[in-house]
């Protein structure tokens, strides 16, 4: 036996479950390759709205961010008078914050002190004065990487002592593979579809009780605004969760990446930290909370730059030291990403030359998101066999599909999940890639649609999707995929 074989691969790696999303992704990658090589396919341009990647779909980046980064990358541009003065001044300041005044240098593993400070100030302003400190902020190569660090710190134990983390069902599609990789058991708690995917305390309690005895639950993960559901928790719901984690002694992990994307009328994002600090002193001083944010949010959407951060509240200082040590193995988050965080959280202010453009671009993005959500919601709900809860924020819609029996049988025969077969057929017939959702209770199926796309693209998406869906409902299924 000469080659290293599957038996010798880390069992934990082997155990990483590819989400149905990834299964679909590899299909789409093959498809894309064929298109590039000019193989005859449909004449439409392929549209991919399966992941939270607005720029891939054609949304434009914020000019200020890209201009400042360009100057930081090529400092000769500091003297280019075609670029607004505030762009050049900010670039200068950011370069001074870098070692050797270059974005090519390493930074401290937890991030540039200047950017950590900007983040702290942003948080304090957002939370109307609740103190935030740079030393509790850790910058990483994306929020997922930060989450992985914390999950790894929590992980340990075998068999019934294996660490468990409560996660929402449905959940963001990278979450299960991440927990698999860390060797941590996922303990799902159902979000309540009938209540627009609300978090339900009795469901949390049920999940926790079931988990105990099978594993050692140590943390709960929540995304708010919800990914992919778009649910926004109100203060009361957040308070319930906080009391729950305090009573049950769980670490609270809150993904607040879409905090800038709330569009439902009369709804506003309120951070877990702010709510915590407005509860009684005992909770405020003891609940251990880690919140996550990243560049991959709605308005900035710089997914490819790979930077995010976590803020640790009430974390043991000894543990925080190890957070930094763990981040050392990445050396540091990419510097252009770190700088983009600074720009995202400390944008141009009134009076700055770039302010009007910045405001305009942000408003257009938010308006697009709100309008797309409304438009898509209506159309999806008008389709037979599809129903969708309204979203209050986030960049997805999460419609439920009632799939014809033929599809389910066909999928079964092919060893695919029914929704994956649906998505595969949609790709082949309409050149549209959508996300496969998590199967619900009682065998219901869902799609994950990123709706932060240019309005024309949304129209095209809705047209192709409804055309396919209506055909499917009408015809008999007799083809082998």
């Amino acid at each position: 036996k000469l080659m290293m074989s599957l038996q010798e691969v880390n069992p934990r790696v082997r155990g990483i479950r590819l989400s149905s999303q990834s299964g679909l992704h590899s299909l789409t990658e093959n498809n894309t390759r064929d298109i590039i090589q000019g193989a005859p396919q449909s004449f439409k341009e392929q549209i991919n709205i399966s992941s939270g990647d607005p720029q891939r779909a054609g949304m434009k980046p914020i000019s200020f961010v890209r201009q400042v980064l360009a100057v930081c990358l090529c400092p000769e541009l500091l003297s280019d008078e075609h670029l607004p003065l505030d762009v050049r001044l900010r670039a200068l300041r950011l370069l001074e914050a870098c070692d050797g005044e270059s974005v090519g240098s390493y930074t401290a593993s937890s991030g540039l002190p200047h950017v950590r400070q900007t983040i702290a100030e942003f948080i304090m302003k957002r939370d109307e004065g609740v103190p935030a400190y740079a030393k509790n902020i850790f910058i990483s190569s994306g929020a997922q990487r930060a989450l992985m660090v914390i999950v790894k710190l929590l992980s340990g134990g075998e068999g019934r002592l294996q660490t468990g983390v409560l996660i929402p069902h449905p959940c963001p599609h990278g979450l299960l593979p991440l927990l698999d990789e860390a060797g941590v058991m996922a303990v799902p708690y159902r979000l309540i579809e009938e209540e627009n995917w609300a978090v339900d305390l009795s469901e949390l309690e049920r999940a926790l009780t079931t988990a105990r005895g099978r594993c050692e639950p140590r943390a709960i993960y929540i995304s708010n605004p919800g990914n992919p559901t778009g649910h926004l928790q109100d203060r009361e719901s957040i308070e319930e969760v906080i009391e729950f984690v305090s009573t049950e002694r769980l670490l609270l992990l809150v993904d607040e990446v879409y905090q800038d994307s709330v569009y439902a009328p009369n709804k506003e994002f309120i951070s877990y930290k702010k709510v915590l600090f407005e509860m009684d002193e005992h909770l405020r001083d003891t609940v251990e909370l880690v919140s996550f944010h990243s560049l991959s949010c709605a308005c900035v959407a710089e997914c490819g730059l790979r930077a995010g951060y976590m803020e640790a509240v009430n974390m043991d200082p000894g543990v925080m030291h190890f957070v930094d040590t763990m981040l050392c193995t990445d050396i540091n988050a990419p510097v252009t990403g770190q700088l983009a965080l600074d720009l995202m959280l400390s944008p141009p202010g009134p009076g700055d030359p770039s302010y009007n453009t910045f405001v305009h671009e942000t408003l257009v993005t938010r308006a697009t998101l709100a309008q797309n959500s409304q438009r898509a919601l209506k159309l999806l709900n008008d389709l037979p066999g599809m129903s969708c809860r309204p979203a209050m924020g986030g960049i997805y819609l999460y419609p439920r599909l009632d799939l014809p029996a033929e599809i389910k049988e066909q999928a079964n025969m092919l060893g695919l999940e029914a929704v994956v077969l649906y998505c595969q057929m949609l790709l082949e017939e309409e050149d549209l890639i959508v996300g496969a959702g998590d199967d619900g209770t009682s065998g219901s199926h869902y799609l994950r649609l990123c709706i932060l796309v240019p309005p024309d693209t949304l129209e095209e998406v809705l047209s192709r999707l409804s055309s396919f869906h209506l055909r499917l409902s009408d015809r008999k299924l007799n083809r082998i995929v």
Binding site: Q55, G156, G304, T329, I331
Partner: protein
Amino acid sequence: MSQEAVNGVPCRGKVLTVENMNPNVKRVEYAVRGPIVQRAVQIEKELREGVKKPFTEVIKANIGDAQAMGQRPITFFRQVLALCSYPELLEDNKFPEDAKQRARRILDACGGHSIGAYSASQGIECIRQDVARYIEKRDGGISSSPDNIYLSTGASDAIVTILKLLVCGEGRDRTGVMISIPQYPLYSAALADLAAVQINYYLDEDNCWSLNVAELKRALNEAKQHCKPRVLCIINPGNPTGQVQSRQCIEDVIRFAKEEHLFLMADEVYQDNVYAEGCKFHSFKKVLFEMGPEYSSTVEMASFHSTSKCYMGECGFRGGYMEVINMDPEVKAQLTKLVSVRLCPPVPGQALLDLVVNPPQPDEPSYTSFMKERTAVLAALAEKARLTEEIFNTVPGITCNPVQGAMYTFPRITLPPKAIDKAKAEGKVPDMFYCMKLLEEEGICLVPGSGFGQKDGTFHFRMTILPPTEKLKVVLQKIRDFHLRFTNEFS
């Protein structure tokens, strides 16, 4: 640790503590950023606050960060990256046409024509193709497939990924990974985190830090008693030792890996940093294939490269790749799955890597200035390597092997017994005690040899050769003076 609250009601301890966290994490240490660097940062803060010290700045010669020490980036690369970041600049006639052409090509390969979109997790396809072509050209035509190329977030990411992939087994069957001592602490940190068994093989200080197979065999045989050796790591050119392996040596290592059924990990991030006369970089892959099909179709290997070192020094971008050779398809599928968990490497780093493997050609407008910059950087490093060896070897009590390549020197220091005792009394490892004292007295930050591993009873430090030449001369003087003082003080 439980505490009483002010009102007398007992508080329970924290939910997450050092005692109840993942025990593997406690063993993770990364000396390059360890306590001595933390102290250096603190001293810098004190200097800024006006505290009086015997020096006015801290010279951080601890980390291989060329641009932090004043090395300039390559103009062409930064121009293309600026164009990618803000494509409106493509209208600006201050940018040369070859830079614009590359920017357009990169943007066309990105989702939504933007560097802000996620890429495929294995990396942007046309960049992987460019990397494969670069490798083919470098290795005299030996073919390289883009499917075997994985772009990564620096070489570190790829190295940790492979280690993660290959760690399995329990107890005596647990994966053992052979690493050279002295080693780059990322390896030991990753092995601690993964609870893999670290198998140390010692480089031969008396022979320019060369590697010999007898030592590999010794280490392997001893290790077989308590683990299952599966992986052999080698850094060439070496970190921290700077040695450039001879072709013969590389062949010997390949032969050894084949005989012992070991997966080879060849860390080649310093492949352009070769200074000493008579030394040449030989890629492991090239040597492997020149040894004929008996080896080239059986030895399993991953080689690593990055944008952080060589003449680019672009550490902050976290660009890199690995090429996997002869990997079992099922294992490779697991690798592909594993990298997909982390989404994708940073796109600016991928773009930069594309420029490194696809630099200006002789018929292009930017070629002359590009070559000038590249040559100047490498020549300066070569000169500093020579200077460092020369000066250190004039100091009684410091012996320094030639810095054949990479960016560091790892001289051996003789410490008087009284100093060793004093260190122990203070609970410090002797070379840490030495380096801390150097930091406090001269403001020079080095990394003690204990952070990299060394033969028992010997002491070293690692210093980078990156400060600008004039400053480097001053640093070398100061270390010389310090060493003599230190020796005197503890005699």
